[in-house]
């Protein structure tokens, strides 16, 4: 989904959660939830047994008359019998799937290759399963039918939104078909049975639970406390009548848990995609068409799910939202007839709509209410930051141009340093952010109309600039130094102070280089994770003070607690420090950067992904990297620039990021990560200043 959370990795949370869940913590959690299931078991089962019509499939012979309920054991046995009948009813529709060949690792994660489960949905040999069991892209797939026959299968289509695959085998005779349970009949608390076939092709595995929630995973799944794991992914979750509620699959459940649903295995949280939703899409899938989640392409300043009202800062260029003319300032009120108060509401509606389907959106623009119909798409063109080639600073009546890059669209259009841009496309410019958000969603072939006031304030004229994509190469330009305002003595501006900061309840030592004039103007904020171990304040000052003085950077260096190593938790230092500095100083968002040297570079990257909304860029010095765990494409107003200085391998890392639309550069240099003076400061300085360009 395009929206805004592109790559709000929720870094720390998801990483930690993952580690926690996959370790012993996961298993502790499982125990806790198990006890929960125990306590809510019986009340509902009685109700379900009695409420459901006697004409249903299982004959509840254990319960003849109300008086029988008084015998506790007979109720337990009657329930067991009913559960067994449901299982027997559906078992012939459950098949075992075996795979041959394929990958054994994806992204350093071992891929299980054991048998998996499928559910027959059409007598003609159509079988659905979980995408999870086919991740390894096997060379061959065999389906083992309950009667012992084997048949080769083909993957016909995949539903990437619901993590479901459709297989086809040649059936010699009509196969038994799983009957869907009516979604209207579902109640949280009713019995649900998870079935699998991984252990034995002829008999099913079964786990009993209840429906824990409906409409989970943004409306795409039913949640159950029956045990769901690779043992039964692809199998059915059935009701007491043996009708299929859904197909078990580790669907991505939400931001908190990241995109790997398997971490939840056997945790008391399992998901099934409603069979009715799958059957609805079966004709499309049978003809070989994959299904993907639909993307809309609206851009909001805040990507937090709980943010609301949903006010747009624009529409991603080329997106469905842009095509229907949605623009900055629009507030989304409704989506497909459902009210949208929070970003999560919109996401909830979007997730269940496929690419190719349309959705109706009601927006408020100025005083008007407009209804728009958008045709959602699978992919929105990769977004790359727009480029004009100028630096501006807020000044009276507009934005004053402080630097221009030769041959840039801005320079070529006749803009000059010292001019003040007062309007863009007739919209008044008060702060840099005004122009930034207009530029972010600007089309590449449509000129922006800038109203420009000459340096002496005498004349005004209009200049058209056509934005381009941000250049691939590092901007080769020496920007003018940033002198503090006022006519303070030159000596005073040349002074930096090296000091130590203290954060409440954080034991780490933190060195800081503070320019004397730090409070006089918006200042750049640079946070550098070094190699673990004590840092010499003198050496920090010698190497970094020039940058701090000339370009107005406040630079902080946290020191690892353990002199031998950084711990993952210390990534959090970045968030704490930035928040603290934000309170004391006027920080330029476009010049807020997290960087790192050696191992510290890895912390910097993680911290940068977590603090993405607060910072403009991240860099590493002499950090060896092969791949970044970043799959979310770049998006307007969410850009993050990368610089990697070090070995030649980094070029391919930058390239990968470039493909996702990010501005990423690499510079080959030999860096001794224990010596600051091996850092190519000139290149670093240029890159840091490039962040401030529009």
């Amino acid at each position: 989904m395009m929206l805004t959370s592109y790559f709000r990795l929720n870094g720390i949370k998801s990483c930690r959660m993952g580690a926690w869940l996959s370790g012993i913590g996961k298993r502790r959690l499982a125990v806790g939830l198990c006890a929960l299931a125990l306590s809510c078991g019986l009340g509902l089962q009685l109700e379900t047994l009695l409420a459901q019509s006697p004409t249903g499939t299982p004959s509840l012979t254990g319960i003849q008359s109300p008086t029988d309920h008084r015998s506790p054991m007979s109720l337990v046995l009657a329930e067991q019998k009913a559960l067994q009948q449901a299982v027997t009813h559906v078992a012939p529709c459950v098949v075992q799937i075996e795979t041959f060949g394929g990958l054994d690792r994806i992204d350093d994660k071992a891929i299980a290759s054991g048998p998996t489960t499928g559910t027959i949905v059409d007598a003609d040999g159509w079988i659905v399963t979980s995408l999870h069991g086919l991740l390894q892209q096997p060379a061959s797939i065999l389906v083992n039918l309950p009667d012992g026959t084997r048949a080769p299968a083909q993957i016909v289509a995949r539903d990437y939104s619901r993590e479901i695959a459709l297989l086809k085998i040649d059936a010699l005779s009509p196969l038994p078909v799983a009957q869907p349970s009516d979604p209207k009949s579902w109640q949280v608390g009713q019995w649900s049975i998870a079935l699998g076939k991984t252990y034995d092709a002829r008999s099913v595995t079964q786990s009993y639970g209840i429906i824990s929630a409906l409409g989970r995973a943004y409306g795409r799944a039913v949640q159950t406390d029956a045990k769901v794991s690779p043992i039964n992914y692809g199998g059915p979750l059935v009701d007491l009548f043996g009708n299929v509620i859904g197909i078990l699959t580790p669907i991505a459940a939400g931001e908190m848990l990241g995109d790997d649903g398997t971490v939840l295995y056997d945790s008391g949280i399992g998901f099934a995609v409603p069979l009715s939703d799958i059957l609805q899409r079966l004709p499309t899938m049978k003809s070989g068409n994959d299904i993907r989640a639909g993307k809309l392409g609206v851009v909001t300043a805040d990507s937090n799910e709980m943010a609301g009202p949903v006010r747009l800062t624009g529409a991603a260029p080329g997106s469905p939202a842009a095509k229907v003319g949605m623009k900055a300032g629009d507030v989304i009120l409704e989506a497909n007839g459902r009210p949208v108060n929070l970003l999560a509401d919109l996401r909830h509606v979007l997730a269940s709509i496929d690419a190719g389907q349309s959705m109706e959106i009601v927006i408020r623009r100025d005083q008007q209410t407009l209804t728009m119909s958008c045709d959602l798409v699978a992919e929105i063109p990769v977004y790359r930051r727009r480029f004009l080639g100028m630096q501006v600073e807020d000044s009276d009546g507009g934005l004053k141009i402080r630097a221009l890059i030769g041959d840039s669209p801005a320079a070529l259009s006749g803009l000059e340093v010292g001019q003040t841009v007062t309007h863009c496309n007739d919209q008044e410019l008060v702060q840099r952010e005004n122009l930034e958000s207009l530029l972010a969603v600007a089309d590449l072939d449509v000129p922006l109309r800038l109203t420009v006031q000459s340096e002496d304030g005498q004349s005004k004229r209009e200049i058209s600039v056509v934005p381009t994509k941000w250049p691939d190469k590092l901007i080769g330009h020496d920007p003018p130094v940033r002198t503090p305002p006022g006519n303070g003595a030159v000596e005073a501006t040349n002074v930096v102070q090296i000091t130590e900061l203290k954060l409440a309840d954080i034991p780490n030592k933190i060195h800081a280089i503070l320019p004397a004039a730090a409070k006089l103007r918006p200042i750049g904020c640079l946070l550098v994770f070094s190699e673990p171990g004590e840092l010499s304040a003198d050496k920090l000052k010698t190497n970094w003070e020039r940058l701090a003085i000339d370009y107005g950077w406040l630079i902080v260096f946290p020191v690892s607690n353990n002199p031998q190593a950084w711990t993952r938790d210390e990534v959090e230092l970045a968030s704490r420090l930035l928040a603290r500095l934000d309170q004391e100083y006027t920080i330029d968002r476009c010049r807020t950067v997290i960087g790192g040297m050696g191992v510290g570079g890895q912390l910097a990257l993680i911290a940068a992904l977590v603090e993405k909304e607060r910072i403009a860029g991240t860099f590493t010095l002499g950090t060896s990297l092969r791949r970044l765990p970043l799959r979310t494409a770049n998006a307007p107003m969410q850009s993050l620039d990368f610089l990697f200085i070090g070995d030649r391998q980094l070029e391919s890392v930058a390239e990968q990021l470039g493909k996702l639309g990010y501005v990423a550069n690499s510079i080959a240099a030999e860096i001794d990560t224990s010596k600051w003076d091996t850092v190519p400061f000139e290149a670093l300085k240029r890159w840091l200043e490039s962040l401030a360009y529009l």
């Binding site: 125990v31 006890a35 078991g41 109720l75 299980a112």
Partner: protein
């Protein structure tokens, strides 16, 4: 952490004849419960076990309380990241305890704490290295015990209770924890050979209660009537699915072995793992050349077939994909080689291949 009486009280909710009071909130009911427990303990003055016949008339709550008195928390050696506790249960009036064989038992006196609060000492009487179980003898007779003669056989779908001291959560006289679940399936650990690093290779009851946790091993698996179905196994990972599994050894599997230990026989480790054949079969023997094995899971596609070889006379062709060797799935060339290594050079080999969308099974006779 919840006190033992809540564990019991929750299981009591299964009892549909509850009187509308909650054990959790009502101290009076808790008092009543403790009295009931006391009364029950008094009635068990002589060691006894409840047979399946008797059990059908009792409530689940009674089942649980009666079974708790037969189980025991074991404390022994630990350290180096290993837990120093596990679970066990009484199997005789003399005080024999069945548990899993583990490093916890590596002490001269194993401390056994019963659910009626007694602290006993026990020593290892004998072990079965193949089933990884141990029989201990405690210095005092139990209040009650499970008779192996009265154990029952579980079927898939049966609802079960697991009683164990998982995570060592019960201390002192606290009761062990009761978990409910169902038998998901019964599978041969042997059939998924290579997937489990388990010494035990026989049938196992896979259950959906989360028993794969420290301290649970050696606990009792019961049916709803309180009959013994099996013993909870050690922590075990299923590498073919990348998950931990919850399982128990069926009672039928250890009955004989326990009898032998009680009779004073020593059980020696059998060669349970498959042997590499003395004269292992090779691909060239069969006349097969596979595509280059460049991936860790290269599929076993036939690249060429030697003329006048067993493969040629059976009609195998290039591009056939070998799926099964003697009915064993070979998901990769590595798995194929491993399988061939167990076959004698002189024996026939049953091969199933996929040719296009067709499956073909042939016997290669060297």
């Amino acid at each position: 952490m919840k006190p033992d009486w809540i564990v019991i009280a929750e299981s009591n909710m299964w009892n549909s004849s509850r009187q509308g009071v909650s054990w959790k909130s009502n101290p009076l009911s808790m008092g009543l419960f403790m009295m009931a427990l006391l009364a029950m303990m008094l009635s068990y003055r002589t060691p006894r076990h409840v047979s399946g016949q008797e059990a059908t008339s009792q409530s689940l709550h009674q089942t649980v309380v009666a079974s708790e008195l037969k189980t025991v928390k074991l404390f022994g050696a630990g350290g180096m990241g290993l837990e120093s506790y596990q679970s066990g249960f009484f199997i005789s009036a003399e005080g024999h305890i069945l548990t899993v064989w583990s490093t916890v038992l590596d002490v001269s006196d194993i401390i056994c704490v019963t659910s009626d609060g007694r602290k006993l000492k026990a020593q290892v009487l004998g072990i079965d290295p193949n089933l990884e179980l141990a029989v201990l003898l405690s210095d005092q007779p139990p209040a009650a015990y499970f008779s192996l003669e009265d154990s029952a056989q579980a079927a898939p779908g049966d609802r079960v209770l697991a009683i164990s001291n998982l995570f060592g959560i019960a201390t002192g006289s606290e009761m062990s924890s009761v978990q409910k679940g169902a038998v998901m399936t019964i599978t041969e650990l042997r059939a998924r050979r290579g997937n489990f690093q388990s010494v035990y290779q026989g049938p196992a009851l896979i259950i959906d209660a989360m028993t794969n946790n420290p301290g649970a091993a050696g606990g009792a698996l019961l049916n709803m009537q309180g009959q013994l179905l099996g013993m909870l196994g050690k922590e075990l990972r299923d590498t073919s699915a990348n998950i931990w599994i919850n399982y128990a050894l069926p009672a039928a599997q250890f009955k004989e072995s326990v009898g032998n230990i009680l009779a004073g026989k020593t059980i020696i480790r059998s060669q349970a793992t498959r042997k590499v054949a003395d004269r292992p079969m090779s691909l060239s023997q069969l006349g097969l050349v596979l595509i280059p094995n460049i991936l860790s899971k290269t599929p076993a596609y036939i690249d060429s077939v030697q003329p006048r070889s067993p493969a040629a006379s059976a009609g195998l062709k290039p591009d056939d994909l070998i799926l099964f060797i003697n009915s064993q799935r070979v998901a990769s060339q590595a798995a194929l080689m491993e399988e061939l290594n167990t076959i004698d050079r002189g024996d026939g080999v049953l091969v199933m291949v996929q040719r296009g969308s067709e499956l073909k099974e042939v016997l290669l006779q060297p």
